[in-house]
């Protein structure tokens, strides 16, 4: 029950416990201070009362002692009767004792401790003015002892000592203590309850905000509706809304920038392909030129000319094909999501690179799994990824190197492409950075440092991943894995 109301890891629990602890301690200290002050007032009042009672009785006692000492009347037993009567009229009195100026016993009540030393502390009899103090008597409990000198001017008749019960004072103190304690507990309880409710409302608002954050879709249009509040939570909501708008704008700007970078990277790749492409174009152009020369040389030979024209047409078609493939690679297109056969992607890229591979005397082995499931994505972007991986492999293996491309499908619903080269490998220190933008180990002008970064972005956008395994001097394996059917 408690664990459900106050979960251990809850912010509300922490605030509640910390605040309630502080409030309780604070209230306790305040109530103790009030109680101490109130106790002091109560005791002062009691002492005033005791002194007033004792003074009042001292007038009678003094009068009786004057009569007795001056033989003015038959005063035998006066004091005993006065004491008994005064005790009857004041139920809080526990004892009365009267002593002479030298401390000799004069009269006492029948009640109270039997020993005079208990009734009248030695030495107190010389005190100059009425005073009181509290003491504990066996059998009587706490008693307030009031002392009053019996004197007229400097004439000292004796001393009056009156014991007044003080247990009622202690009971009153106890009552007030528990009253204040109850008040503290009640107030603290109410404050904790209020705090609990306020925190619940506050954290409920935060949960609304968290809910809105969970459903946040940067590609979507609007945020879920949040309550319109004027307090700090409302400010938080508004700031969250503004932040959402800024993030969306930034994302659009980022997409545009990435698009431009992709295009630049493609153009850079085309630059690297330029010599091969020139050769691809040059061959049909030379063939066409030879055909033109042959036609001119034997213009009347219609049969041959038809054959040459056929060859020229094929050459132009070949050149057109090369240009078309290049344009297809270089064209900046909007990303599309369509079924893509990764084997076709591998073949398309290998065709683009065929001349470079041949020129460098490289060996490209294709190990393509049959019936490879299609993935969903942008064929053009995936070609770019594979192009980057193969170009890197070609750079790594150097002249007459060996590159192997393998496709596979796993039971976990992923399709993969491995690009394995037996090149120089990547230094271990560089491995954590190879996907960082602008990171390159190539010389100036040989690479932008964006290829792998862009490739990783593309693959992740397709819900896939790129892993790399490399050892210096042994080679590198890039593994591209994509979910069948595309990103979730």
């Amino acid at each position: 029950m408690i664990a459900r109301l106050l979960p251990a890891d809850s912010l509300r629990t922490r605030i509640l416990l910390t605040t309630s602890g502080a409030i309780t301690l604070f209230m306790m200290v305040i109530s103790w201070g009030i109680l101490a002050q109130w106790r002091q007032t109560l005791l002062a009042k009691e002492q005033q009362h005791a002194i007033a009672v004792t003074r009042a009785f001292s007038v009678t006692v003094t009068e009786a002692m004057i009569f007795e000492r001056n033989d003015l009347a038959q005063s035998e037993g006066f004091l005993d009767n006065y004491i008994a009567g005064f005790m009857r009229e004041n139920p809080r009195l526990r004892y009365i004792a009267i002593v002479g100026p030298a401390g000799e016993k004069v009269a006492r009540s029948l009640q109270g401790p039997r020993a005079w030393s208990e009734l009248v502390p030695a030495g107190i009899l010389a005190a100059p003015s009425p005073t009181t103090w509290f003491r504990r008597h066996d059998g009587l409990g706490w008693v307030e002892v009031a002392y009053c000198p019996l004197a007229t001017g400097h004439k000292r008749w004796g001393s009056l000592v009156v014991g007044i019960e003080a247990e009622s004072v202690r009971r009153e103190i106890t009552r007030i203590f528990f009253l204040l304690l109850g008040l503290v507990v009640s107030v603290t309880g109410v404050m904790i309850l209020l705090l609990w409710i306020l925190l619940g409302r506050l954290l409920g608002s935060l949960r609304d905000l968290v809910g809105a954050m969970d459903t946040l879709d940067l590609e979507g249009s609007d945020l879920p509706a949040l309550p319109d509040r004027r307090d700090e939570i409302g400010v938080l909501f508004r700031h969250f809304h503004d932040m959402h708008d800024r993030v969306r704008r930034s994302r659009l700007e980022l997409i545009n920038a990435q698009s431009q970078i992709y295009h630049a990277e493609r153009l850079a790749a085309i630059g690297r392909l330029a010599s091969g492409i020139a050769h691809e174009l040059n061959n049909p152009i030379n063939g066409v030129r030879n055909c033109i020369y042959a036609i001119r040389h034997d213009f009347e030979n219609r049969e041959k000319n038809l054959t040459y024209l056929q060859m020229m047409d094929e050459g132009m078609e070949q050149a057109g094909s090369v240009v078309s493939k290049l344009l297809g690679y270089a064209r900046k297109q909007q990303p599309v999501r369509a079924p893509v056969a990764m084997n076709e992607v591998v073949l398309a890229v290998s065709r683009l690179l065929a001349f470079d591979i041949e020129r460098k005397g490289l060996t490209l082995d294709l190990d393509l799994q049959r019936d490879l499931p299609e993935v969903t994505g942008d064929s053009q972007l995936l070609q770019e990824v594979l192009m980057n991986l193969l170009l890197n492999g070609m750079d790594a293996v150097g002249e007459r190197g060996h590159i192997r491309v393998r496709t596979w499908a796993r039971d976990d619903g992923r399709v993969g492409v491995e690009v394995v080269d037996r090149g120089k490998g990547i230094a271990e220190a560089d491995l954590p950075h190879i996907f960082d933008p602008f990171f390159t180990t190539k010389g100036t002008g040989e690479g932008t440092g964006l290829g792998l970064s862009i490739s990783l972005g593309i693959v992740q956008a397709h819900g896939g991943s790129i892993d790399v395994d490399s050892r210096v001097g042994e080679g590198t394996t890039f593994t591209l894995a994509l979910p069948v059917g595309g990103a979730a």
Partner: protein
């Protein structure tokens, strides 16, 4: 901060409960050290005691209030310890002095004039009045709202008087009523009380229509609801009396100290206040001749 720890919460609660128990225990401990004790005993306790009598003009406690400051002054300034000895009646005071129970006694004028010669007593000092003289007056008082305005108005009225042994207790019958053409029989009733203050209280209480007291007593009750409608001729102040020819050195010391009494410059402020109530203007020397006229008046009255 990780999640809350139940053990920590419980131990905090236990500490709070313990603190409260400790606070309650401290609050309920009413014990405080007894007040500082003064050293008992005083050098003057060992000095010889000289007892001084006082006639019962006032109630015993009032007598102590008015005369004890004088004893305190004498004890402080002299070599003896002076203590009051009260008497039940004016005559008892005279008997005490004659027997030697007291070395001196504060008498009334009337009682000295009555018994002084017979008892062999001698007046030595008398208090000054506020003008510095030695004479005093008795006054007739009535409630403020009373219709009485002269002594003649007392006819058929109830009158309260002090002791028969005081001048004030005799002035009405001996002088005031005859002068107004009345006698004590013309009054509704007359009652003598022991103390002057009792007379004032009875008049203020409405039990009597008028009363006679010493003028100094009437002044103490000024503003309390009485007014004075008649005043006696002046009479000599109440003397401090000794047995005639008493050679005790304490008498000499007492006379010296009382003549030197300066109530305005006593060392003890409380003493100053106490003395001012009865002896605020000091003493003057008197002798038997001062009271001869009063004695003659009493003698004439006795022979009528």
């Amino acid at each position: 901060m990780r999640g809350w720890n139940p053990a920590l919460v419980l131990s905090s609660a236990a500490i709070l409960i313990g603190l409260n128990a400790l606070v309650l225990d401290r609050l309920l401990d009413l014990g405080a050290p007894p007040p500082p004790r003064m050293a008992a005993g005083s050098p003057q306790n060992t000095r010889p005691v000289i007892r001084v009598g006082v006639i019962s003009r006032y109630a015993p406690s009032l007598t102590y209030e008015r005369y004890q400051p004088l004893m305190d002054y004498l004890s402080a300034a002299g070599t003896y310890r002076y203590e009051l000895k009260l008497s039940a009646t004016y005559e008892d005071a005279a008997e005490q002095l004659r027997r030697g129970d007291v070395a001196a006694s504060f008498f009334g004028t009337w009682i000295y004039a009555s018994l002084g010669q017979r008892f062999g007593l001698e007046p030595i000092l008398a208090p000054r009045n506020e003008e510095g003289g030695t004479t005093f007056h008795a006054v007739l008082i009535v409630p403020v709202r009373s219709s009485l305005s002269t002594i003649a108005d007392l006819k058929g009225r109830r009158v309260a008087l002090p002791s028969r042994s005081s001048y004030a207790g005799n002035w009405l019958e001996a002088e005031a009523l005859p002068a107004a053409g009345l006698s004590i029989a013309d009054l509704d009733s007359v009652h003598h009380f022991d103390y002057h203050q009792t007379v004032v209280h009875r008049v203020l209480g409405g039990e009597f229509d008028a009363g006679i007291v010493r003028e100094t007593v009437a002044r103490e009750f000024a503003g309390e609801g009485i007014r004075i409608i008649a005043r006696s001729d002046s009479f000599p102040g109440p003397p401090l009396v000794i047995r005639a020819g008493n050679p005790h050195p304490a008498i000499v010391e007492m006379k010296r100290l009382l003549l030197a009494l300066d109530t305005g410059h006593a060392a003890d402020p409380a003493l100053t206040v106490g003395l001012a109530r009865e002896f605020g203007h000091g003493f003057v020397t008197v002798d038997a001749r001062t009271y001869e006229a009063m004695a003659r008046l009493i003698g004439l009255r006795a022979t009528r």
